[in-house]
């Protein structure tokens, strides 16, 4: 709750500062132009956002967060990384939802390679973000090119993470208290 208000205040301050800078450096017409562009953008993405939020909420009722973890252990090999990558891409919602799920997966037995692959697949190739934002704003040619280039990266990162001699267990995470045992925060 506090974090969300802090985020809102920081974002508001940054937006206000950039608005003042535009007014100061480029004049009032530029401010109006930016606000007009914002309005067009809202009209473009609002239908996708409403649909995306409904989709992610419905999926959360159907798929329990820990259901895939037994497929992602240290012995799971390349298949475990593929499963983690697919789960990360299917993971709806923003960082509020995704990072707590990492804790849930880790506690349920996913190894560090699978966790890294999961985080990267979510942040790089999250299906919901591609459909809601990238496709409508940048068009299918660019979105497809970007996705093709990003597709192998989570598996690569998972392999590197398994190879690196840095151990990590959920006990090292500050968010462990209270988060991993309850359902992840639902903000998207």
């Amino acid at each position: 709750m506090l974090r969300r208000n802090a985020t809102f205040l920081v974002i508001s301050a940054l937006t206000l500062a950039s608005a003042l800078a535009v007014w100061w450096l480029r004049g009032w017409a530029a401010v109006q132009h930016a606000l007009g562009a914002t309005w067009d953008l809202i009209l473009t993405v609002l239908p996708s956002i409403l649909g995306g939020l409904l989709l992610s909420a419905a999926l959360r009722q159907l798929v329990p967060p820990g259901a895939l973890a037994r497929w992602m252990g240290a012995e799971s090999g390349l298949r475990g990384l593929l499963v983690a990558t697919a789960a990360g891409m299917a993971m709806p919602g923003g960082p509020v939802a995704a990072f707590p799920v990492v804790l849930v997966l880790a506690q349920a037995g996913a190894d560090r390679g699978a966790l890294i692959a999961f985080v990267l697949a979510w942040s790089l190739n999250g299906f919901q973000r591609i459909v809601v934002w990238e496709l409508p704003i940048l068009g299918h040619d660019f979105a497809l090119l970007r996705l093709l280039c990003g597709l192998p990266l989570p598996i690569l990162a998972g392999l590197i993470a398994r190879w690196l001699p840095i151990r990590w267990s959920p006990a090292d995470a500050p968010g462990m208290q209270g988060v991993a045992t309850t359902r992840p925060d639902r903000a998207a």
Binding site: R3, T7, F8, L14, T15, S18, V22, V31, A34, T38, L41, V45, P47, I49, G51, G52, L54, L55, S56, A57, A58, R60, G93, P95, F99, V102, R112, L115, I116, L120, S123, L124, V131, V132, W133, L135, P136, I137, G139, H140, D141, F142, L144, L145, R146, C149, L153, A157, G158, I160, A161, L164, I166, W168, D172, A173, P174, V179, R186, A188
Partner: protein, 170 residues
């Protein structure tokens, strides 16, 4: 109404129907959850959306073309990856900015690197979410495993670009 919007609504309504078939209460909870998420996300988003437009007004004309143009090659890919890592905020800031850059003449391969840098290195998300939840050790592990990958994405895009003539939006 783009194809993407229709697709997401079809899938969303399908998932909702599956919830309702299990039990009406589950369907109601899905709708309530979606409403709650919208209520939490909307204020931040409405404040953040104008930021991209304001920043776009501030970026000097020709900046993207000069430094991140289609001919900027590997140097452009490196610059774009780093710039992506420093972009603040979520997809509602990044994708409109990239649209502006592309229209101003930035190279698509460089923009692939920029989006990848934003997704992988993203300073803002790392500090605001990953650090408090997963801790510094996880971040070190993740960054060591992935810091070079945006460059790889940009170079791959450079190779694949001829197959996607519509990617430059010009």
């Amino acid at each position: 109404m783009s194809f993407g919007v229709i697709a997401i609504w079809v899938v969303a309504l399908g998932a909702l129907a599956m919830c309702l078939r299990r039990s009406p209460a589950l369907g109601r909870r899905a709708v309530a959850d979606a409403g709650g998420a919208l209520w939490r996300v909307l204020p931040v988003m409405l404040m953040a959306l104008p930021m991209a437009a304001f920043i776009a007004e501030l970026i000097p004309a020709g900046w993207a073309e000069q430094w991140l143009g289609p001919d900027s090659g590997f140097v452009g890919v490196v610059l774009a990856s780093l710039a992506g890592g420093m972009l603040p905020g979520g997809p509602f800031v990044t994708f409109p900015l990239v649209l502006g850059f592309l229209k101003a003449g930035a190279g698509p391969a460089q923009m692939v690197a920029l989006i990848s840098g934003w997704a992988i290195l993203g300073m803002h998300r790392t500090l605001a979410w990953e650090l408090p939840i997963l801790g510094g050790r996880f971040i070190v592990l993740r960054l060591m495993a992935s810091f070079a990958l945006p460059l790889l994405a940009g170079m791959a895009a450079e190779l694949l670009l001829p197959l996607f003539p519509g990617a430059s939006l010009r």
